[in-house]
């Protein structure tokens, strides 16, 4: 039942409609390309058609003579003026990491198809693109590094000569006695699998508008970004421009999913040009540029083994993850992050006494890898869940049973995992059991048997995960990354008792204007309609880290709770003087200062606000004027969400087509702020995970040429492909966060590759095919079936 939006009462947990929707639905939202500044110029980038080539010369004369063209710049023109993007880790923490320069315009060499070699500034985008087409770049093609195997060969061409090889980073760890575990095991299963290169693909491509205002000596960058302050700091760094004269504004952002959590070369160039020309400039990339020149994700080759006892108890796991990171390193996080994240996620919710892994990040002449929803987790979970099914099969155990036997039990929390993470609470076994109940597991198994008898191949696949959400500053520091995990918020009350919240997260679809307002409304006892959330303007909101990593509800919500607490304490202190009721006997609720014991209203909040802010002479002398408070919230070392996904599929053995008949998720993100929003995040995440599992593939040929440059070639799920996800909830609040919130944003996308791959393997069990690669395209699945039939 929907809570009244004008009323008060407990808002955390209430199913309220989104505050942000009316302006979007009425066409009043403002994305970055909707901003048309007066006298604005447009940019177009000239991009490399080669994967690997030396730039011999660039002839821009014809372009410069085009009508409307203001300026053409090449890498040589901006060398020294804009620093290259260079990801540095703390050497002591990341001794094997090799940094590289990503020049914002190619200097002497291009390293992937789509790399920017020059930029045109012209009166409008038509003129800029015309001129870009007239720039004559002479390339001397070099042998490309087109895959990881080639990259690791002794005589491989080098993507970055100064490295001496193509390895960006190798991470290794062994915890417990792994060799012993494998010696003592009753059963060992192993799997080699590969995941397809794919990408976030937000519906709004990347873009920014930059302008320099001499009157205020301010460089303003409006960008479609998830991380406004991160962008500001790094624009300052690469342009060597004083940060306090830079303002970054993130307007409405049309999706990001990780891709827009970076500083891109094009943004640095735009900011530089606005300052240099004293004119506003706009860069809006087209879809081909987004597909070929933004960031890709998650192409890894995995080899992993699982050692178990006869009863299925896990003794040890080992895995080697080799990531194809492409040409450069995503800035400022670093592309080597993904393989390590995938590898370290292997044990998941399963109690594991011995674990070793190696994660190798390898450079190739392809588009750079960047974080995309779930980062390495979908690959780690796919690997582990395949191993669990293989072990169950070999031991004659039910796939559900082997999982239940190994999962962390409720009474074992807080449970410290093999990699040292403290899992504070959770519902691993309960979520699996509930998902099986929703499916009607036994009935489905019976149906599967009946269908097989009719020559139809149904399969049931399980995917379970444990997700560390909202990484802390310390977690990044331990990996050698110079990044914060904290968040900041300012909470202000105005003279009418209404609340403005300024917070450093940035919604790109996550509904913060609603969910974060629900948190503030509860903390300050005001109606939801009396709270306004402001994000995305570095001149307005305190320094924060933006939105990624299932962090905003935990960290943004945490910062708002802490700032509200400060403000509330002050209000109650002042109210105590006015009402002569001790402040710990007072509360803020339903727009009133109330006596806590019997909820008697003593004074409207708006009256208190007016007296503090306007009739300030009546304030007690020892009380500071003003009604605002700021807090910086560092999340706990770890918060953990968990879920079970189950896919029921049918595979057409004549065509290889995989059809999703049902998809079930039982999630546990701790305390739910808004059930509608959580369901929306799950449904949407699952859709992206379905894309990962079945369709999406950014392809290159053996020359490093990019083959999937349109949405006719790069396929994402449509309305026909995504079923209604059947969602169940369990709430295991975190004991460490305000309200017990854990975070949910990435979860939906993490387990579909595992659940769907397992379901396809289960469906094709009669053919004994080895499901060892995603995406599970009809061509690939049919190939497996035909291979087995030929062998038989």
């Amino acid at each position: 039942m929907e809570a009244s939006q004008g009323g008060t009462g407990k808002m955390v947990g209430a199913q309220v409609r989104r505050v942000e929707d009316p302006r979007v639905l009425l066409g009043k939202s403002q994305y970055v390309d909707d901003l048309d500044l007066p006298n604005s110029l447009a940019l177009a980038f000239v991009r490399s058609p080669y994967a690997h080539a030396r730039i011999v010369s660039i002839d821009a004369a014809a372009a410069q003579n085009q009508p409307g063209v203001r300026l053409v710049l090449t890498g040589a023109d901006i060398a020294g003026a804009i620093k290259p993007l260079r990801v540095e880790y703390e050497p002591a923490k990341a001794p094997t990491h090799k940094p590289c320069d990503w020049p914002v315009l190619a200097q002497d060499k291009v390293r992937f198809v789509g790399e920017a070699a020059a930029v045109v500034v012209a009166a409008d985008r038509y003129a800029a693109e015309d001129a870009a087409g007239l720039i004559d770049v002479e390339y001397e093609p070099l042998e490309p590094v087109s895959d990881v195997e080639q990259a690791l060969a002794a005589d491989a061409p080098l993507v970055h000569e100064e490295w001496g090889d193509n390895v960006m980073q190798t991470l290794q760890a062994e915890i417990g006695d792994v060799a012993k575990a494998f010696q003592e095991a009753d059963c060992v299963v192993s799997e080699r699998l590969t995941t397809g290169r794919h990408m976030a693909l937000p519906m709004e491509t990347r873009g920014c508008v930059a302008s320099f205002e001499p009157a205020t000596d301010t460089l303003t960058v409006w960008s479609s970004t998830q991380v406004p302050h991160v962008l500001r700091s790094h624009i300052a760094l690469v342009l060597d421009f004083p940060e306090h004269h830079i303002r970054v504004v993130a307007p409405d952002v049309g999706g990001g999913f990780g891709q827009k959590g970076h500083l891109f070369p094009e943004e640095a160039v735009s900011a530089y040009l606005a300052h240099r020309l004293g004119r506003a400039v706009k860069w809006i990339e087209d879809r081909r540029e987004n597909l070929s020149a933004s960031l890709h994700a998650k192409q890894q080759a995995v080899q992993a083994e699982l050692a178990v006892r006869q009863d299925g108890t896990i003794l040890g796991i080992r895995g080697r993850f080799v990531g194809d990171v492409g040409a450069y390193s995503e800035y400022p996080w670093g592309s080597a992050f993904e393989a390590g994240h995938a590898a370290s996620s292997l044990p998941g919710p399963y109690k594991t006494p011995a674990f070793s892994f190696e994660a190798v990040s390898v450079a190739t002449n392809k588009t750079t890898i960047g974080v995309y929803r779930g980062v390495g987790l979908p690959i780690g979970v796919l690997t582990m869940e395949r191993l669990m099914d293989l072990a169950a099969h070999k031991l004659g155990l039910d796939p559900a049973e082997i999982r239940l036997r190994n999962m962390i039990r409720k009474e074992e929390h807080p449970y410290t995992t093999i990699i040292g993470a403290e899992v504070e609470s959770g519902s691993h076994r309960e979520s699996l059991q509930k998902a099986l109940d929703i499916l009607g597991y036994q009935e489905c198994r019976a149906e599967q048997q009946r269908a097989r008898a009719q020559g139809r191949y149904l399969g049931i696949g399980i995917g379970c995960y444990l997700e560390g959400t909202a990484p802390s500053s310390a977690a990044f520091a331990s990996m050698g990354l110079n990044l914060g995990g904290y968040e900041s918020a300012t909470v202000r009350m105005d003279v009418a008792g209404k609340v403005t919240v300024l917070v450093g997260t940035h919604s790109h679809g996550q509904s913060h204007e609603t969910t974060l307002a629900q948190v503030a409304a509860d903390e300050l006892g005001v109606p939801l309609a009396d709270v306004k959330i402001i994000e995305g303007d570095t001149n307005a909101v305190p320094y924060g880290m933006g939105t990624w990593g299932s962090r905003s509800a935990v960290t943004g919500g945490g910062a708002i709770s802490r700032a509200s607490e400060k403000l509330r304490n002050k209000m109650l202190r002042i109210a105590s003087r006015m009402t002569e009721v001790p402040d710990d006997d007072l509360e803020l609720a339903e727009g009133m200062i109330r006596r806590r014991a019997d909820t008697t209203p003593l004074m409207p909040i708006k009256e208190l606000a007016h007296r503090v802010l306007v009739q300030a002479g009546s304030l007690p002398r020892d009380e500071e004027p003003g009604l605002d408070a700021t807090a910086h919230y560092e999340p706990p070392p770890s918060t953990h969400a968990n879920a079970t996904h189950i896919a029921l599929v049918e595979v057409d053995s004549d065509t290889g087509q995989v059809t999703l008949l049902r998809y079930i998720v039982v999630e546990d993100c701790g305390t739910i702020i808004n059930p509608t929003v959580v369901d929306g995040q799950i449904q949407g995440g699952v859709a992206q995970g379905i894309g990962t599992a079945l369709y999406e593939h950014a392809l290159y040929d053996e020359n490093g040429q990019f083959l999937t440059g349109t949405l006719m070639d790069y396929l994402i799920p449509t309305a026909i492909d995504v079923p209604q996800v059947e969602i169940g909830h369990i709430e295991s609040p975190s004991p460490h966060t305000p309200h017990g919130i854990k975070g949910v944003g990435e979860g939906g996308a993490i387990a579909p590759p595992a659940a769907i791959a397992n379901a396809v393997a289960d469906a094709l069990a009669p053919f004994e095919v080895r499901v060892d690669a995603i995406p599970l395209t009809p061509e690939r699945v049919l190939g497996w079936i035909e291979q087995r039939q030929a062998a038989a």
Binding site: D21, Y31, L134, M203, G255, G509, T718, A719
Partner: protein
Amino acid sequence: MAATQFTEYQTIRVRVNGHEYEREVPVRRLLADFIRHDLGLTATHLGCEHGVCGACTIIMDDESVRSCLLFAVQADGAELQTLEGLADGDKMHPLQQSFWDNHALQCGFCTSGFLMSAVDLLNKNPRPSEEEIRHGLSGNLCRCTGYANIVKAVQAVAEQSQS
């Protein structure tokens, strides 16, 4: 390479959301750019500019069209409807209301295109089945919602119109 110029202009008259416009446009100007940047109607979005994602869908003479695949001059004499023309003042069209009620949008970038495709779908088939809705909207891509709530929102409006 020789310098190229694209300077041919043509005057067009269009009716957009009930307002008459007469404008001189370069003959190669996309209809989407004309609507967005010349008329300032920025609710129509561009997601791919090659006719696949459907974000730029508008209604032209009672048919849904992709405004990124048309030149402005092709709309000369036409009647166009964009998202800005859907509501009656601040009173939402039933589809807009239903999208709100059913959480059918997240980032909102594709929403305008979905609404205009849904308008066209319900105009032609006021009582679509779920499957017909899914097919009718399959030319519009959404990366946030996973479509289920969009389908529900359209279904709810179709059911209302039956009662």
